[in-house]
Subunit: 247 residues, 6 copies
């Protein structure tokens, strides 16, 4: 945890630029919603499933539920990880709970009474920022899903109440940087995952100091930068999702 | 998730007061550090164990590791929960990862090379705020542990670099309230768990909107209130811990 | 397993005295029955839960069921034990089956048709005799539970048919000793756990020779001593339970 | 649990007779010791394995360890039981711990330093008394194992210090009966499993009242009858084992 | 995987002879069908259970289902294998899926609508060929089961549509051998498990090259030899099963 | 299982044509070998990992080991399957054992002494033939891996001794068809998975009759057709792999 003598240099992007982002909708012919998202080297496959069965704690309620799952393929990372360990590890649980809260915040679940929406985010390749990339991929897959519901006439009202995205923002050396890759993430002194809407409202913030406590002012500045970055990313994602593919 | 017609009324404390807090050190005769902490009805038993074995990912490193575990007794909650489910559930993983990061931030692990510190936080009774109460109990148990290391001469330098505590802060109706109990937590529109030092530096913040996204200004105000509340709680805890019990 | 040169010396009690025993009822605000019992250094938290659901094998029967669970906190013992191992180990299963049979023998389950009573006995600190202390704590929690049922009018007839308690009794060197602590238990040549009523009737006896077979006469003498000791312990417990706390 | 109007009638044997017993040694060509034992309809296959690896808690000790496992084939019982449930259930753990203690009491483990003896008792058919039949089968397999060790010259001293057997004894109506089958076991008011030597010394007694507490005198009479019955069974088993098969 | 200098020599049988085969029906008094089969040293206990509950994927269908389970006792093999590992290992899953398909092919499942037939094949001793011996034992147990259904009048039509058996056939050196034992299996260059009917129709073939790819002609010759061998084995088994035991 | 009135009609390909096949190498920047293969709608991601640790049963041997894993993403299929069930199910074990044998047959493991090669085949989309597509993807990833070993100088000799591929071949109605999709697979009367080399030598054949036993002649004709089809597929795959991507 001692400071590295040299900080990773960004090539082809400034400190406040996210990595190149691309998304493809409708990539899974079985799922009613899906997206394949690439953000730098990080690569996520997200699918939406709608089950006609309420989650146990939502039986008899006026709303449905959305649950998210997050997992890595064994060789998504630099070292191979055994599948069983992948499924059991605590980091995975922490992340998928964040995904669930983030994506639930975007959907009006009254449209899905007695149903459960599953959003599966599988990391094909990991290079930092997999949790924020998963939120973005999950949002894209939900968008794809809702488009199909509307186009097929099964729903008459657009069920997404917010466009929810996320970005990581960190303190690398003395510099605030947006969308850290793995090399940057490892040396960041502080690291926030900011989940927010395209209009700059906050859903959740997770994270903090990595090496030593930080001042409240620094935390607020990271937060402000992150919220702004989410707005930029969501504008780009919105343009790509507007092109309806594979419906 | 619709707003309740009536918000819970606080009795005997103002919106910015935490619940009555008491702590007892040295409660476990086997453990080299332990604490029993009561905060309102929430009740935590924390013990410290020192193993002379490095964590797998710290082999050959110059520092040791601290790992935290969090679990609930089956009847800590209003309904009984099966033990196996308690151990496997994702919420537990999310919380114990937070505890681990919070408590690691307080210890200089260079003093524990090739060793692993376990902090077990077991919830005997839950009434909201169990994760922040666990951080406080864990801190108290670590304090007890370090006192014994110094008193016995096994360590000559005080190994805690920061006094780390935590508090929950939420938006109940239009009011910011500190240290929510279960009834308040259920109706809060936003809810942050602020982990900070007694001097007001931030370690981590977890949480956010519960019902709909919130404005950045509101988030920052919750944060500021939370940091201030941690300072108050740590001052009280410090006075109780200064009285050396059971060493 | 060779005989130690020195046997542990009892301080402040004779060979036939149990350790100091104290019990507190109503310690868990969520549970309809609970008790915190301390016996020497051994410390047990017992809670009662009543579920309106029959046990699978009691569906359609005229009686309910009582099931007991026993577990240790990771640092209840001198060395820390991993939670998963705690839950899976065979010793735990053996003990909780004994608890279940002992406590079921005290309740008239016709009052609980189509219901299941859970008695959770969690060992906070272990210093020998945890299984007998758990039976005593479970009995106290059941007593607390029944008092509340009667006081609240939900039951008009006292449902406990027997006052069931337990004690360990062992052969330490040539001496019969009652209520062994861990140091005594380790060197005992024979060790019985006697489950009996306050009137000296036998529910179950578990245990036997630890080092070499013992004569039938010795076994019967241990048994007789144990039954007598249970009567003494139950007289004391009865006095403490008569004081109604927290109802 | 109410008394049945009619008690099962014994055919072809008196109340104090065990069921017909037969044993065959050396039935498994891979194992260094094995036995197939039939007692009434109950049928057990026991095998002995010797591993050149100490049990974890016996590393560096002057003695080896013996561990026993007990399991049922899925259709050993009247209803089929799933294999996974068979392995996890608490009754199995309780029984195999009893087997382990019983069989360990018969072996001088100083001959097996840094080694572990496994005795696997698998129930092919169950009709009551499987735990006592497993102890008898385990004893026979150990006897077979020791014979081979002596015959092959790998051991010069007979390592069994005691001939350990077991029997069940119960109170059926007002009658004490030995070696209950399943139908008798179900209606017994009390039921002891007595583990003893061929000379009438006691290793362990497990069990007690099934319907209501019993008087101490009744318990002692059951015990005495059981010890006597073990002596009878061991005499018969000894004659069968004296005929060396398959060595 | 290099060729051994010496190939195992067959004693008392030619290359195309299977090992001595014997079968005993009705060996389990609880099961409605059972068989104990010995083939060389390999020994299998098969039981049939009929549950009045459809398999999940057969609910509402016009047919029932047959599921097979295969497991080894811990010491069926030369080295002892832990029970948990036995249950989880992939080889077991592969084999029991083969058994299920083989035995399902022999039964007209329209007679068992809304029911599930379990065939449990437990290996008591393994010396090569356990999967084919299990198919033969399973067939025998099913035959026993059907005999009882017909004799008791619960079924009026014989529900087995085919007599299904199996044999292994391998290339040992340059020689085609039938029914390999473990020593032969280890050195075989190719090894097929042929599942076929007594009239020479094929159900399934599993297996292939063990050391290097083999020519199509060699494969076909192994297959032809195997089919012929199954016919021989089924003729013998048929004669043994014609003698009705224990019904 | 009754014959469907209408058989699926093939569009754009004859009965003996496999589906369109495309493969992309070097798709995972972390893995030393990887391939993304699409065959009709079936889509597989294969990665190769080399661990410098022998498999437990290959310690001290002159060769290394290759182990394959096969898994489906939850929504690879038409209905979503829970991750835990995906990992535990028997079909998965059966398939990954086949993959392992198939891919091991292609590698000279003497080049990987004291090492273990993992080939992970993850099904992104399933539409029939996932096991043969996984063998093809695994072969492509191994080819990619070996190219890099040679190019980087870490190996001087090409370690693949055979080009191993696979295809499914089935009897749909009266017609032999190659490379069945899911709709065809469901109605096939017989179905073989043929694993063979590009030169027409057989590694393994798995499968057989689905509805009723089939004649030996039919089996041999399916086999011959399958072997021929593998040769065709391997010729095409060879052309695609000759173009070195991403090395």
């Amino acid at each position: 945890m001692t400071a590295p003598s040299k900080l990773p240099v960004r090539e082809g992007r400034s400190a406040l630029d996210p990595r190149p982002l691309s998304v493809k909708r409708g990539v899974n012919p079985h799922a009613p919603g899906s997206a394949h998202l690439i953000m730098g080297h990080t690569e996520i496959l997200a699918t939406v499933t709608l089950e006609d069965k309420p989650a146990p704690h939502m039986r008899g309620k006026k709303e449905g539920w959305l649950t998210a799952e997050y997992a890595m393929l064994p060789r998504a990372t630099n070292d191979r990880q055994a599948r069983e360990r992948n499924l059991q590890n605590g980091r995975r649980h922490e992340i998928q709970r964040l995904l669930g809260r983030a994506l639930r915040a975007s959907v009006d679940l009254k449209h899905f009474r007695n149903q459960t929406i599953y959003v599966d985010c599988d990391v094909l390749v990991a290079d930092g920022g997999t949790r924020v990339a998963s939120i973005l991929a999950g949002h894209a897959a939900l968008h794809d899903f809702c488009d199909r519901l509307i186009h097929s006439g099964r729903l008459s009202e657009w069920p997404l109440t917010h466009k929810v995205g996320a970005i990581s923002v960190g303190l690398v050396g003395e510099e605030i940087r947006v969308d850290l890759d793995y090399a940057e993430d490892k040396v960041a002194r502080a690291d926030l995952n900011v989940v927010a809407t395209d209009t700059g409202l906050i859903i959740e913030v997770q994270g903090g100091a990595e090496e030593g406590p930080i001042a409240q002012e620094d935390y607020v500045q990271l937060l402000t930068t992150g919220v702004q970055a989410v707005r930029g990313v969501m504008a780009q994602l919105g343009r790509e999702l507007a092109v309806i593919q594979g419906v």
